[in-house]
């Protein structure tokens, strides 16, 4: 090696040799050789070559970011070759700009006499070398309103926005930056970054292609290109002089999330495993290790990791002090932490505490700017809290709440985090309900939610809650009145008020509410249906009071309503007229109306079911007008099913619940079991629901099976009927059906079915004491499996034609009792 070196240094290189090295980009070697060449020749040409190579080498050093070395070399060369000083001016300027020392450099731009050439020269260097526009935005030598200064600030702001989170094109539009501006490459880079994060690689590529390859932003374009491009042979980028260096590699790794995660991953896996074991010392050790590695390798999620560890440990009842010791220090109690804690309490069944924490979360989240003080988010969280409270048995909630308040007052030990300052006024007030602890009372939460976001859905939730929790009409009316006050163009509260008045026979009041609803929206089908139902209620009331003259007036009013003339509804009016003639004991009229009714409804059986259904509400004890045909006299079973369905549906549409005559139950059940002829799904559902109302579960089961075999869009509704018809001990099957219905309803966007299924799931209680006919004193956990395949469940129910019975389905029964016994052991 030594010999070789001696040889090479002794030999004087030629100019051609040096130029060749320069062409190859080997500036360092070229410079050494140029020095020897000049030392030996000492001519003007050799000196010029040496200076040229120096410039190349310094440029290379600048490019590599070795600014200090470049500066030292420039000063050495300047001293040695004083006459060539000016040739290094540009390089010195570039270094100054790169270092952010631009005050002196941009000063000439303020001088109005500066030549265009000079101005262009400065702007070009800024465009190609300035890497941090903030330096320009805050430079002191330019006045505050200088376009370069204001432009740089705007571009920098857009750059910060686009690199910090999802944003829109509008926010980073930069309309003031023209294509010819020195900021144009920055504008293109910002757009490229926006599309990069939106994963719109096509648009991103177009923006990258528009960036001047000599400009500073092009250095980042190379980084984006390296991530988005599968084709790494992209010519335009490979020919670039800018190479991906160490710093750009770091950026590439960070934005594409390719950090070295092996060590942290294995530490976290160990920690997850430790959480699932009972060895506490191992768990604390695993916590310590994971936090330590995360701090070193993945600091950006350290706080989140610590928050999750704290909450997981809380869920496992591990002493918080020990956890803090393992983690080194406690975690930040920010909005995310409180939300995590609230969810943990909710999942753990500590429902009142969960509400407490959700309230804490709201307070903290507002402070952190998650949402505004009166944002609809707060209203929605209040609604969410009511859902949590509704999971507590209404019979127990008062006692649980009292106990919770006592615990809250007396002890801090049970809670990982509670901001006691929020509750001091509440503790000073001993009266209940305590408005400072409003988050424990669903009605106050609803009130607050509707104050913030007075929307129909929340009022509807509130009124449904009131229906379930208060039997007195005044409570329901209060909510409806608040609803009407808040949304006076909404007909729904008026219809609730109308129905409430109707139920307590306050017909004048009911009519006044109806009138108001009609003033808002006369053509609304719900208003029209409500009007018909109210008129019928009034008529039936008059018939019950034996006031046929008033009832006859009512008939005329009903007749004038267009909605009373739809479908089979005229038959209903005829049935009322028939009842009226019975009351008046007018046999001739009775006979006339009877024939009319049969003609209008199309069947004697349907007519008989309607009359049977109207007798009791109209105060008539016995039916001497219609006799149902006996089973033997039924010529066609399908005809019977259709007739029954028709009568039931007519009753439904009038708000009355007619029953299937008991003598026909077996015929209809067998028909659905054995007959494959298609009956319209709505008729099947009507019969099945009537069967459920009257506890004819086998009938409902057979009807739903018949409907399910037909398939189609009503499968979800039929499956829900199937779920309701199953015996209690077939618990697993029942749960699977309900879960499958929820899934199907969600897919079909059938909100009514979804609500019904969710409510059934929520209120489904499984107690063997119901089954044994004993009082219910213990609810065992349900068997809902959210991973069930709805299609599979549907097929199982289609295939299972026979109604479950204890002899054939012993396994289900044993499972049921096993579950119960396991729960009791706990």
């Amino acid at each position: 090696m030594k010999k070789k070196k001696d040889k090479s240094t002794n030999k004087v290189p030629t100019a051609a040799e040096i130029e060749k090295l320069v062409l190859k980009g080997k500036y360092k070697i070229a410079l050494n050789k140029a020095k020897i060449y000049n030392k030996n020749l000492q001519t003007k040409e050799s000196e010029k070559l040496l200076i040229d190579v120096h410039i190349k080498r310094i440029s290379q050093m600048v490019e590599l970011g070795h600014l200090h070395d470049a500066k030292v070399l420039i000063s050495v060369v300047k001293n040695n070759f004083l006459s060539e000083k000016e040739r290094f001016e540009d390089l010195s300027n570039i270094i100054a700009v790169r270092e952010g020392n631009i005050d002196d450099f941009v000063k000439p731009l303020v001088d109005p006499a500066v030549s265009d050439k000079k101005r262009k020269q400065i702007e070009d260097i800024l465009k190609n070398e300035l890497t941090n526009l903030n330096d320009l935005a805050i430079c002191k030598s330019l006045p505050l309103d200088h376009p370069l200064k204001t432009g740089a600030a705007l571009v920098m702001k857009a750059f910060e926005t686009v690199t910090s989170g999802y944003t829109s094109e509008k926010e980073i539009a930069l309309p003031a930056v023209s294509r010819k501006s020195l900021f144009a490459p920055w504008k293109m880079l910002i757009r490229a970054i926006l599309f990069f994060y939106q994963k719109d690689d096509e648009k991103c590529q177009r923006c990258l292609n528009a960036i001047d390859s000599a400009s500073a932003p092009y250095r980042l374009a190379v980084v984006i290109q390296s991530i988005i491009s599968d084709n790494t042979n992209d010519i335009s980028f490979h020919n670039s002089k800018r190479q991906i260096n160490e710093k750009t590699k770091i950026l590439t790794n960070k934005i594409s999330g390719n950090m070295d995660k092996d060590s942290i991953k294995s530490a976290i896996i160990n920690l997850d495993k430790a959480f699932n074991m009972k060895n506490q010392s191992k768990l604390l050790k695993a916590m310590k290790n994971a936090v330590k590695i995360c701090e070193k390798d993945y600091p950006q999620i350290l706080e989140k990791l610590k928050q999750h560890i704290s909450i997981k440990a809380w869920m496992k009842d591990i002493c918080y002090k020990k956890v803090v010791n393992a983690m080194g220090c406690p975690t930040i109690k920010n909005g995310y932490f409180l939300l995590l804690h609230a969810r943990a309490a909710e999942i753990s069944g500590k429902l009142l505490f969960a509400c407490c924490l959700f309230y804490e979360f709201c307070c903290q989240a507002k402070q952190e700017g998650w949402f505004s003080d009166k944002g609809i988010e707060i209203a929605e969280i209040y609604c969410y809290m009511t859902n949590i409270l509704n999971r507590i048995d209404p019979e127990d909630i008062d006692q649980q709440r009292d106990e919770f308040i006592v615990v809250l007052k007396s002890s801090k030990k049970n809670f990982l985090y509670i901001n006691y300052h929020n509750y001091i006024p509440a503790f000073q007030n001993n009266g209940l309900p305590n408005t400072d602890l409003f988050f424990l009372y669903p009605d106050i939460l609803y009130k607050k939610a509707t104050d913030i976001n007075p929307c129909s859905d929340i009022f509807d939730m509130w009124i449904q809650w009131t229906f379930k929790n208060y039997s007195h009409w005044k409570h329901i009316d209060q909510v409806a009145i608040l609803w009407h006050k808040a949304l006076n163009e909404d007909t729904k509260p008026l219809l609730y008020l109308m129905e409430s008045a109707e139920k307590r026979n306050a017909f004048t009041k009911a009519l006044s509410y109806l009138e108001k609803a009609e003033q808002i929206d006369k053509l609304n089908p719900e208003v029209q249906r409500a009007k018909l139902r109210l008129f019928i209620s009034i008529t039936m009331r008059h018939l019950k009071q034996r006031k046929p003259h008033l009832a006859r007036n009512d008939f005329e009013k009903i007749q004038q309503l267009p909605q009373s003339r739809e479908g089979y509804k005229p038959a209903f009016l005829t049935a009322l007229k028939l009842i009226c003639s019975i009351i008046e004991n007018n046999k001739l009229e009775s006979s006339r109306q009877k024939n009319k009714l049969i003609k209008k409804i199309g069947n004697k059986i349907s007519a008989a079911i309607i009359i049977e259904g109207l007798l009791k509400p109209c105060g008539i004890k016995s039916n001497t007008v219609f006799y149902l045909p006996s089973v033997k006299n039924i010529p066609d079973n399908k005809e019977l099913v259709l007739a029954v369905a028709r009568a039931l549906r007519l009753g439904d549409s009038m708000g009355l619940c007619f029953s299937i005559p008991s003598r026909y139950i077996d015929i209809i059940t067998n028909f659905f079991k054995n007959d494959k002829s298609t009956i319209e799904p709505f008729s099947i559902i009507t019969i099945a629901n009537s069967g459920l109302n009257d506890n004819y579960f086998e009938l409902a089961y057979a009807a739903s099976g018949n409907g399910l075999l037909q398939g189609g869009v009503n499968s979800g509704k039929l499956l829900l009927v199937r779920a309701k018809s199953l015996p209690l001990w077939a618990m697993k099957r029942k749960c699977d059906c309900i879960t499958a219905v929820i899934e199907m309803a969600r897919r079909q966007r059938d909100t009514d079915l979804l609500k019904e299924a969710i409510e059934l799931r929520r209120t489904q209680k499984f107690s063997p004491f119901d089954f044994l006919g004993l009082p219910n004193f213990l609810d065992i956990p349900n068997q809902f499996d959210d991973t069930v395949d709805s299609e599979k469940i549907l097929q199982i129910e289609k295939d299972t034609i026979s109604y479950p019975n204890l002899n054939d389905d012993k396994d289900d029964l044993y499972d049921f009792f096993d579950n119960f016994l396991n729960f009791s052991d706990r």
Partner: protein, 103 residues
């Protein structure tokens, strides 16, 4: 565990599926949805399309949006989910300083 069935259950945050910011307005959400369904038409990508539609359903309604946010926080999840591979593959926002350092 209690599940909110009123909103479609998604394994990923809906705004990540549509690739819009947490504060995106209705117009932006609609545009992102249209862009996505153009990218994943239902006849070629039925499952992805369903996912996109579910995400859109959640985001377009401010109420379901907040409920989805609440439900997305699950303390029972394995801690490894914090380093979920899917999220690592995503394009990560790192702030402007890291970008400028690379220049």
């Amino acid at each position: 565990m209690f599940k909110d069935f009123d909103i479609p259950s998604l394994t990923e945050k809906p705004n990540n599926i549509l690739e819009v910011s947490e504060n995106a307005d209705k117009k932006e959400i609609r545009l992102a949805y249209l862009r996505k369904i153009k990218q994943f038409p239902p006849d070629c990508y039925p499952e992805e399309f369903e996912r996109i539609r579910d995400a859109y359903e959640i985001l377009k309604n401010p109420r379901s949006r907040i409920r989805s946010m609440l439900q997305s926080v699950d303390p029972e999840n394995d801690l490894l989910c914090l380093f979920d591979d899917k999220s690592i593959e995503k394009r990560v926002f790192v702030g402007h300083k890291v970008w400028l350092d690379a220049m």
